[in-house]
C-alpha cells in the first residue's frame, strides 16, 4: 500500500510539474510587474436582470382594451403551462363549460371550444404520457378563439377559415399520437389508450359533423 501511495503521489507531482511549471524563475522572490489581475468573467447580474424582467409571454402582450371573455380561460391555460395537475386542468374545463353555454349559438366558437375540451381531457387522462406537443395545440386553439372573439365583425367565412385551420392541426396531432407513433404511451401499464383514442375520435367526428352541417347551411343560405 505504501509503495502504491508513493506511486500516485509521484505520478501526480510529475503531472502537476508538467501542467504548472513556471518557466520564468519559479517562485522567486523577485517581484513581477504589479499588474492588477483583470477581472474575469463577471456575472452580469444587473444588466441581465433588466432583460429578464421584460414580460415575454405572448398571450400577455396582446392586451385588449376591454377585458376579453376569454380572460379566465387564458389564465387557466397559462396555469397549465406551469403545472399540469387535475385541479388546474379541471379549472380550465369548467371555464370551457361556461364559455360553451355562452357561445352555444356561435357554431365556430363552440366547435373550437369543443376542440379545447377534448385536448384538455386527453391531457388530463394521459398526464405524463401525453404527447409533448399537446400544450402547443391548446395554445394554438386558444389563439384561434381569441382572434374570433376579439373581432366581433368577423365574417363567418373568416371564422370558418380559422376553425378549419385548427381542425387540421388537431388532425395532424391525432396522427402523431395514433398507433403509428408509439411514443411514451405504451410504456405505462394500466392506462387504456384505446379508450382515450375513442373519446378523441368521437369528439373529432362530432366536430367534423357540425362543421360540415354549418358549411352546408351557409352554402344554402347564399
Amino acid at each position: 500500500m505504501a509503495t502504491n501511495k508513493d506511486d500516485i503521489t509521484s505520478d501526480l507531482d510529475n503531472r502537476l510539474d508538467e501542467l504548472f511549471g513556471e518557466d520564468d524563475g519559479e517562485d522567486s522572490f523577485v517581484p513581477e510587474k504589479k499588474e492588477k489581475p483583470q477581472p474575469i468573467k463577471q456575472s452580469k447580474a444587473s444588466s441581465d436582470a433588466k432583460e429578464a424582467a421584460k414580460p415575454k409571454q405572448k398571450a400577455v402582450q396582446k392586451q385588449q382594451p376591454m377585458q376579453s371573455p376569454l380572460e379566465n380561460l387564458k389564465s387557466s391555460m397559462l396555469e397549465m403551462d406551469w403545472e399540469l395537475t387535475d385541479e388546474v386542468i379541471g379549472k380550465f374545463l369548467s371555464e370551457i363549460d361556461k364559455l360553451k353555454t355562452k357561445y352555444s349559438s356561435d357554431k365556430m366558437i363552440f366547435s373550437l371550444l369543443q376542440l379545447h375540451e377534448s385536448m384538455a381531457k386527453y391531457i388530463r387522462s394521459k398526464k405524463i404520457n401525453a404527447h409533448p406537443d399537446s400544450m402547443k395545440l391548446v395554445h394554438s386553439v386558444f389563439e384561434g378563439l381569441d382572434k374570433i372573439i376579439a373581432a366581433p365583425n368577423m365574417t363567418e367565412d373568416e371564422k370558418k377559415k380559422i376553425a378549419v385551420g385548427e381542425l387540421k392541426l388537431f388532425k395532424a396531432f391525432k396522427q402523431k399520437i395514433g398507433p403509428a407513433v408509439k411514443g411514451a404511451a405504451p410504456r405505462i401499464e394500466g392506462i387504456d389508450i384505446e379508450a382515450i383514442r375513442k373519446v378523441i375520435k368521437a369528439e373529432l367526428s362530432l366536430f367534423k359533423e357540425e362543421l360540415l352541417k354549418e358549411m352546408k347551411s351557409m352554402r344554402i343560405g347564399r
Binding site: 432583460e51 429578464a52 415575454k56 397549465m80 403551462d81 406551469w82 403545472e83 399540469l84 398526464k127 405524463i128 401525453a130 409533448p132 400544450m135 402547443k136 411514451a184
Partner: protein, 130 residues
C-alpha cells in the same frame, strides 16, 4: 457523517437511461444531476449543446443553497418550483433528496407543465435506484 454519494457503474447507467427516456426524449437540451457540493454525477444533452457544465453546476449548487436558506428565512421548508426563464433557454431545478439536484435546461418548445411532470417521474425512478 457527511453524506457521500457513492454509486456503482450500474446505478450510473440506470440513472442515465431514466434521464434520457424522461427528459432528453421530451426535447430538453441538457440534463445535469449534481450534488450540493457542485459535483456532476450525470450529464446528458441533445448533442447540440455546448455549455460550461462545470461552472453551471458550481453556481447551481450555490444558488440552490442560497434559495433554500431564503425559504427558511421566510418560514418555508423549501420552495417547490425553482425555475429561471430566459428568452430562448430556461433552467428548472428539482431537489431529489438532501444531496442531489436535477437541473434541466430546455428551450421554448418544451412546456414547463410537462417538464415538471416528467422530472417528478424521473425523480421517483431515481430514488428507487439510489
Amino acid at each position: 457523517m457527511e453524506y457521500t454519494i457513492e454509486l456503482n457503474k450500474k446505478q450510473f447507467e440506470s440513472i442515465e437511461n431514466i434521464l434520457k427516456e424522461e427528459l432528453i426524449d421530451l426535447g430538453v437540451q441538457t440534463v445535469l444531476l449534481i450534488d450540493l457540493a457542485g459535483n456532476i454525477l450525470v450529464n446528458l444533452d441533445d448533442g447540440k449543446s455546448d455549455i460550461d457544465i462545470y461552472s453551471l453546476a458550481a453556481l447551481a449548487a450555490g444558488n440552490f443553497g442560497a434559495v433554500s436558506a431564503m425559504a427558511k428565512v421566510i418560514g418555508e421548508s423549501d420552495f417547490s418550483l425553482l425555475f429561471h426563464k430566459g428568452e430562448k433557454e430556461s433552467i428548472h431545478f428539482s431537489k431529489i433528496n438532501e444531496d442531489l439536484l436535477l437541473l434541466t435546461i430546455f428551450g421554448k418548445d418544451v412546456s414547463l407543465g410537462f417538464l415538471r411532470l416528467k422530472t417528478a417521474e424521473a425523480m421517483r425512478k431515481i430514488l428507487e435506484i439510489i
